[in-house]
Symmetry: C2
Amino acid sequence: MTGERRPRSIHRAPPPFTRSEFEQRIERARALMTATRLDALLIASEANLPYFSGLESQIAWISPSRPWHMIVPLEGEPVAVIPASGLREWRESAWVGEVRTWRSPNPENEGLDLLAAEIKRTARRFRRIGVELGQEARLAMAPGDLMRLLDMIRPVQAADCQPIMRQLRFVKSKAEIARLRHIGGIVSDAFADLSRLFRPGMRDADLLRALQADILLRGADKTPYMVIGSGRGGYDSTSLGPTGRKLTKGDVFQIDTGSRYGGYFCDFCRNYAVGKPTVAVQRAYDALWHATQAGIEAAMPGRTAADLFHAQARVIEAAGFQIRDAGRMGHGLGRNITEPPSNKPDDHTVLVAGATVTIEPMCMFGRGKLMVHEENLVVTDKGPLLLSRRAPVEITLLSP
Amino acid sequence: MTGERRPRSIHRAPPPFTRSEFEQRIERARALMTATRLDALLIASEANLPYFSGLESQIAWISPSRPWHMIVPLEGEPVAVIPASGLREWRESAWVGEVRTWRSPNPENEGLDLLAAEIKRTARRFRRIGVELGQEARLAMAPGDLMRLLDMIRPVQAADCQPIMRQLRFVKSKAEIARLRHIGGIVSDAFADLSRLFRPGMRDADLLRALQADILLRGADKTPYMVIGSGRGGYDSTSLGPTGRKLTKGDVFQIDTGSRYGGYFCDFCRNYAVGKPTVAVQRAYDALWHATQAGIEAAMPGRTAADLFHAQARVIEAAGFQIRDAGRMGHGLGRNITEPPSNKPDDHTVLVAGATVTIEPMCMFGRGKLMVHEENLVVTDKGPLLLSRRAPVEITLLSP
């Protein structure tokens, strides 16, 4: 079922990040810290701790028993504050040499004394530290522990450092883009070869398991996200499933996946028809393909996230369809499957070279049907560079 | 490579949770809320929101753009406070009918007004609500938003509800145990058939990709955690890898996985030798097999997590090995890969029927080598019931 007979296309895996990659990230962070008067950043999230440290750990983020932290000071060496059981993992993958450990799990005090001491030692100039408090922050420490820590470090104050992290991570380095291209290429190949996995009458859940296995065997690390919408003559959901529904002649379906390599996500979908689709489906597909194209072409330095929305919406509406506005038509991507900005009318984030975004138009058609397309790209000075391989101009047919 | 020729053993998937399953969970929560004088619980974590609501969503937890919340009041209907784009998903899977939505992403106010209004409406008796603040809490909302919300609801106070959630989730229902047995059975089968995936000289990363694909195709939902430790004559790590190392004659390795079905994790490992292992390896394996057995047999109602530690440690030390104490020798499991309690000398949590734990002894041997075993079980009034299929009494040989 996973098509062992035909060799899978092989992409060369990108190289490890160099130490200078991390040093550059920290230098950029320090410039923003100086501008916002922060003595240090306290980092405790899956999105940001490996971003600065290079830590490769599964257990740090999947098990809530032992929190991991890092302090990035304005001056001097970064310091890791991690569970003693994680020391080996830290030394193996992270470049940061200064490490404080405690014997965890210790719910009464999960490293808080160590953190408070480090922060007090460091926060002497502005008496302010940055903490991942704001937009889209997801800390891998208990919120009550964070509040207790903020009390322990007084008179040092905490400010939200998510604006800094957003600005830093918005612009991807060449090495980051290599990882985004790698996972985009793997998943593009798997989508292109889906007919090898599909059997008419199979359940959507079985197709998704086979596709996830295929993506893994092609070299992805994980597929944390994969959904399917299906129905006769069209589907009516974009982020549900699988439901166990059988895929049969006359069905149209879309599969959307966030798969990951080396800490970086792709996020795009593909549409399929089991047997020849209706004219309505072909017309919706055509409108969205061209809306996607318009979104891609609009992704130039100096344009805004709102411009990406309008570029897509114009094409959909000109083709006589109503946009299906789920709040935005695409978003940033990188270490998270979704990152700022949002492609919506009131998001005026200006695109710059190195920014990675999804273009994700949706439209309504027929009786309660909808359709979605999605591609991933990086903005460059020479124009948009696709991270996913462009969807075919006509919907992919699977034999019924 | 994934062994298509031989059919995989099939386990029948457990049925969906019934509405009464959720009602019972909420009734148990309400008894604890009354005892601790809480008017409502504010729930916003992947561990607890589906526990009460039945929500099946991937995007809610993987994308940080849109937070999902639920309020469980002492009296009256629970209320969901979720992004408008998630309404379809909620209606499809969750039983809770009262839903408030807002147009998200809206970083300026991600549902906070709605949450504050609901909490103020509800918190009239004790003027106190429970929030996931303490031990092992991982909220899927920004900590700064939580702090802002706690200000908005004054004079209503917030108290840590993790002790309540811990007590509730510690005792699994029959339906929960069915899911835990299902994933334990799938992974036990895959481990037992590992020789079909193994080729001498293959890289550890390729073996892990093949095994993850195999586990998926046998019916698991996800394998968020899989690590491998390997080395000639033994390994020296338990939560690292893969590193890309080739597995060759004379190697001993262990693979540990947290795989998931229907929201519930297994967490256990298996040991393999490529060709006949040394006597030292055989002796360590034998000691740990019997230590595991002692841990399993100690898992009776009325015994403590500390008892599980000592039962294992005694056997290891009696066999002449030094225990490798990574802070604990096993832990609870369920909706998280690790849950309280910790099997360690100072954790006196009393085991009760329905509690699910891992038994996880480790020892040192030779020059810097270590070994780990792990099994999963549920405590019953008739004794321990294994959720994983017991590891063989001798280390599994793979032909070199």
